[in-house]
């Protein structure tokens, strides 16, 4: 008698051999042995950048044949066993009857309009998904994309503005030089790949950061996209010069540090937390380039985070994701965690993982990566569930079949 599969099955494997092919082979072998199903419907692949990315994908897609493969590179891997700065992670998924998915990718976004690129990916994902109820889209995009908000906008134009979207901006080894996206047997940068889920998928999404506002509110007086020229009528960098008692040279020198520890928070009416923005660079005229768009006239604050507030946010995000399942059990948890949190938490980085396991149970399968940006809807009603680009946040997606 054939047993009917009732839930999503997942098998996760991690390979850490120095040889790329050995590591990929090991990850695949473990994933297969942990997957208690014969049918494989999807492979999600994450890897640190030290490996030959092309060889990983070639081996996996050659082995899995027609099975869709999607994923991206990351600064570190998150699993139930721990956080690994070096390794290849393969998650094989077997879907129950009634749960469907569609995958697609887009390359060379820089050579076209980002909004149009988003729309193109949205269209590709929708292709062949006509009479099926859409539940969720999962996007892995280049973490160094300049107008991630524009891309997201285009994507939602096609998938639906209020349609749930969870996304991760791929990272590298903090060099901020090149990130990789994977699709089938292809490896590319300046692109994105996505998975559109539909049918009877249950999921819960939680996103928090834990940074708190500090100092008096300020207003963006001149901005365009992710470039903020003036805050309170003065060059944007003045805010950092004043708070940190540092000139532009010093700010530039310690930019990575400042950007992680003291991002800008955009006040969003109705939202529990401010929307964070990391600084990417400081222009000579004192303008600040942020990782996401900062609307003109928005009220902003300087933000500060502590390890405790960060860990509490992780707990809250996990609870929110669990609550989203409305009491149904989760099959696995997907974590997109900002690299900034890794740096802020330092030696306590494993405590985030412990917090997630505390909420979902010690045996819950976990796959996750560290990201240069997270995409998720805002919760306040006035934002109508439209997905935004977040920085410094932990995004927890609990999936139940």
């Amino acid at each position: 008698m054939q047993l009917i599969q009732m839930a999503i099955n997942i098998g996760i494997g991690i390979g850490q051999d120095k040889d790329t092919l050995q590591a990929a082979r090991e990850a695949l072998r473990l994933a297969k042995s942990n997957l208690h199903a014969e049918k494989i419907d999807l492979a999600i692949v994450f890897s640190s950048v030290e490996f030959s990315q092309q060889n990983i994908l070639k081996l996996i897609s050659d082995t899995l044949g027609e099975t869709p493969v999607a994923g991206c590179s990351s600064f570190a891997l998150i699993s139930k066993q721990g956080i690994f700065k070096y390794g290849i992670m393969v998650a094989l998924l077997s879907l129950p009857e009634g749960v469907y998915l569609s995958t697609a990718f887009i390359k060379e976004i820089g050579s076209k309009s980002v909004t149009l690129a988003g729309e193109e990916l949205g269209e590709k994902l929708l292709y062949g998904f006509k009479d099926i109820r859409r539940d969720l889209s999962l996007i892995f995009s280049d973490g160094l994309m300049h107008d991630a908000a524009g891309f997201l906008w285009g994507l939602q134009e096609k998938l639906g503005k209020s349609f749930p979207l969870a996304g991760a901006s791929a990272s590298d080894n903090l060099a901020f030089k090149k990130t990789y996206q994977y699709y089938a047997n292809e490896v590319f940068s300046d692109g994105a790949c996505g998975i559109l889920w539909g049918g009877k998928l249950n999921f819960g999404l939680g996103l928090k950061h834990g940074w708190r506002p500090l100092g008096k509110p300020r207003y963006v007086t001149k901005a365009c996209g992710n470039l903020v020229n003036e805050i309170d009528g003065a060059p944007a960098a003045t805010i950092y010069e004043e708070y940190l008692a540092a000139d532009l040279v010093k700010l530039r020198r310690e930019l990575k540090h400042i950007s992680i520890f003291y991002p800008i928070g955009i006040f969003l009416p109705g939202e529990e937390e401010y929307l964070l923005r990391n600084i990417l660079s400081i222009e000579d005229n004192g303008a600040l380039v942020f990782q996401g768009n900062v609307p003109q006239a928005s009220m902003i604050r300087l933000m500060i985070g502590t390890k405790e507030s960060c860990l509490e946010a992780t707990r809250q995000a996990a609870i929110e994701a669990k609550n989203g399942l409305l009491g149904k059990p989760s099959n696995f948890v997907l974590v997109f965690n900002s690299v900034s949190r890794y740096i802020l938490l330092g030696r306590q980085v494993n405590k985030e993982l412990e917090a997630i396991k505390e909420i979902f149970g010690k045996e819950i399968p976990i796959i996750g990566i560290y990201t240069y940006g997270e995409q998720a809807p805002l919760k306040a009603i006035n934002f109508q569930g439209i997905a935004h680009l977040h920085n410094q946040s932990i995004e927890i997606l609990a999936i139940g079949g």
Partner: protein, 499 residues
């Protein structure tokens, strides 16, 4: 009824009232605005004060974060150093030591690139033993740059000579710094010498491309500790290798020498056997004609064949006597040959040592008396019983005591003492004779050796007595030796098995 004027007056009064009211209201409003403005100003002041406090908080927080980061880096570095030290100390193979430096350990110490070199002072060449974080092409270019320009990078050699760690923060020469940065493709670096006491010294390089990494004295100390550990490990490995080689060479030498000695011994045995066989056959061949000579001489002396003239008789006596001596010598030679060849078996039995010595002294009593020699015997009860061949052991005593009598002047002393030794019963036969020169003390036990002294020049002897004694004692599993001093007497000692 009010007239027009009255109405006008009334309206005027009302207007006045309204104006007064409005003025009062305006004054009140203005006071309220002023109060509100004061409140706003106050709030603004508080806000500004709080903002100032926030600035302080941010600055302190930033310092704290930096300190925390530094501390984390130090802890990770120390932890990595501890693990790496443990790895290094577990190997005694020089090449393996460098291979233990792993990218993970290096990362934990805050670096992603490393090279380990040994400096061959003879060939003036750097040998790359390990490289981490470099592609094969990059490695080749570093190797060839150092190989081609050994002198150009003399600062590296000087680091080894001066036994000094240096880094991108402590190196003052900016040109040198830039050259090293370019060669190793890093922004920050540390070089630390590897200083084993023996053999080639070397250099450990670690570096990072990360422009934000700021190397400090703590990093220098950490890498110095690591290079010291590496230097010590290299020294241990080399000492181990040296000791191992020395042991191997010694073992080979011992084996070779043992083989030589075994071969020599085999040859000696063959020669000895040939000698024994020769002596044996010659002795046998001699005995037959000697018997005839002695027989004929005896017949002639007995005058059975007619009277013999006195001068002929005298010569026949000599022939007879010399024949006896020759027979005696031949017999002794035959006995030695028999013992050597193992053909003579010792009929070992429990004997009373005292009886044997007394019998020997009885046999020699005439000579003892003639020379007025004081003979004493001391054999305690626990040294009385020996396991020996009666006939042979009697020959031993007769020979040694006989020799002692021969070389002891009149009124001298001869004593026989015995005591229990570790390996049997030790017998010491001492005399107050002329003694044996040191150089002859070993040779006297060889066949036909006779000490060159006045007594031997007149006294007769075959030079076989002590050789026979030695063979007999050794055939009993014992050993014999002599202690002597010229003009102070000699002591012959031997060991016999106890029962």
């Amino acid at each position: 009824m009010l007239g027009d004027e009255g109405i006008i007056n009334l309206l005027g009064a009302a207007s006045l009232l309204v104006i007064i009211f409005l003025v009062i209201a305006l004054i009140q409003k203005m006071e309220k605005i002023k109060t509100l403005q004061d409140a706003v100003n106050k709030l603004q002041k508080f806000l500004d004060e709080m903002d100032e406090q926030a600035k302080l908080i941010v600055r302190i927080d930033m310092e704290l974060n930096k300190t925390q980061e530094e501390l984390n880096k130090k802890i990770s570095g120390l932890y990595a150093l501890q693990r790496l030290s443990r790895e290094i100390s577990t190997t005694l193979e020089e090449n393996q030591i460098f291979k233990r430096i792993d990218a993970d350990y290096l990362n934990d110490m805050g670096f992603e690139k490393s090279c380990g070199f040994l400096w061959n002072a003879g060939e003036k060449k750097f040998l790359l033993k390990v490289n981490i974080g470099y592609s094969p092409d990059e490695t080749k270019s570093i190797e060839s740059a150092l190989d081609m320009n050994g002198e150009k990078y003399s600062e590296l050699i000087n680091l080894i000579r001066n036994e000094k760690t240096t880094s991108s923060i402590s190196l003052s020469d900016s040109a040198q710094k830039a050259r090293l940065k370019q060669l190793f493709g890093v922004e920050s670096f540390i070089f630390s010498p590897l200083l084993p006491k023996e053999g080639d010294k070397g250099l450990l390089f670690v570096g990072t491309k990360n422009t934000e990494t700021i190397i400090n004295e703590g990093d220098e100390e950490l890498i110095t500790i690591l290079s010291n550990q590496l230097g010590q490990a290299l020294e241990n490995a080399r000492l181990f290798e040296k000791t191992w080689h020395a042991q191997q060479s010694l073992e080979n030498k011992v084996e070779e020498r043992t083989r030589d000695l075994t071969n020599a011994l085999k040859e000696v045995k063959i020669i000895n056997k040939r000698k024994t066989d020769f002596i044996s056959s010659v002795s046998h061949e001699l005995r037959t004609p000697l018997t005839s000579i002695k027989g004929y001489a005896s017949i002639l002396l007995s005058e059975k064949l007619g009277a013999v003239a006195p001068d002929i008789k005298e010569r026949l006596d000599k022939i007879n006597r010399h024949s006896d001596e020759l027979v005696h010598m031949v017999n002794e030679l035959l006995d030695i040959a028999r013992i050597e060849s193992g053909r003579m078996s010792m009929n070992k039995q429990r004997l009373n040592l005292k009886e044997i010595v007394e019998k020997a002294s009885d046999l020699l009593s005439m000579q003892l008396k003639e020379r007025n020699i004081d003979f004493s015997l001391s054999i305690p009860n626990d040294a009385k019983a020996v396991l020996a061949d009666r006939g042979q052991i009697e020959r031993v005593f007769i020979n040694i005591i006989g020799n002692a009598i021969k070389f002891t002047p009149e009124k001298g002393k001869i004593s026989v003492n015995a005591h229990k030794a570790q390996t049997g019963i030790e017998v010491d036969i001492s005399d107050s004779g002329c003694g044996i020169p040191a150089e002859a003390q070993e040779a006297i036990f060889e066949e036909f050796y006779r000490v060159d002294n006045p007594i031997n020049q007149v006294a007769k002897g075959t030079g076989l007595g002590l050789a026979l004694v030695k063979h007999i004692i050794e055939a009993h599993g014992g050993k014999i030796w002599v202690k002597s001093k010229l003009d102070a007497g000699s002591t012959f000692s031997f060991i016999l098995p106890e029962t």
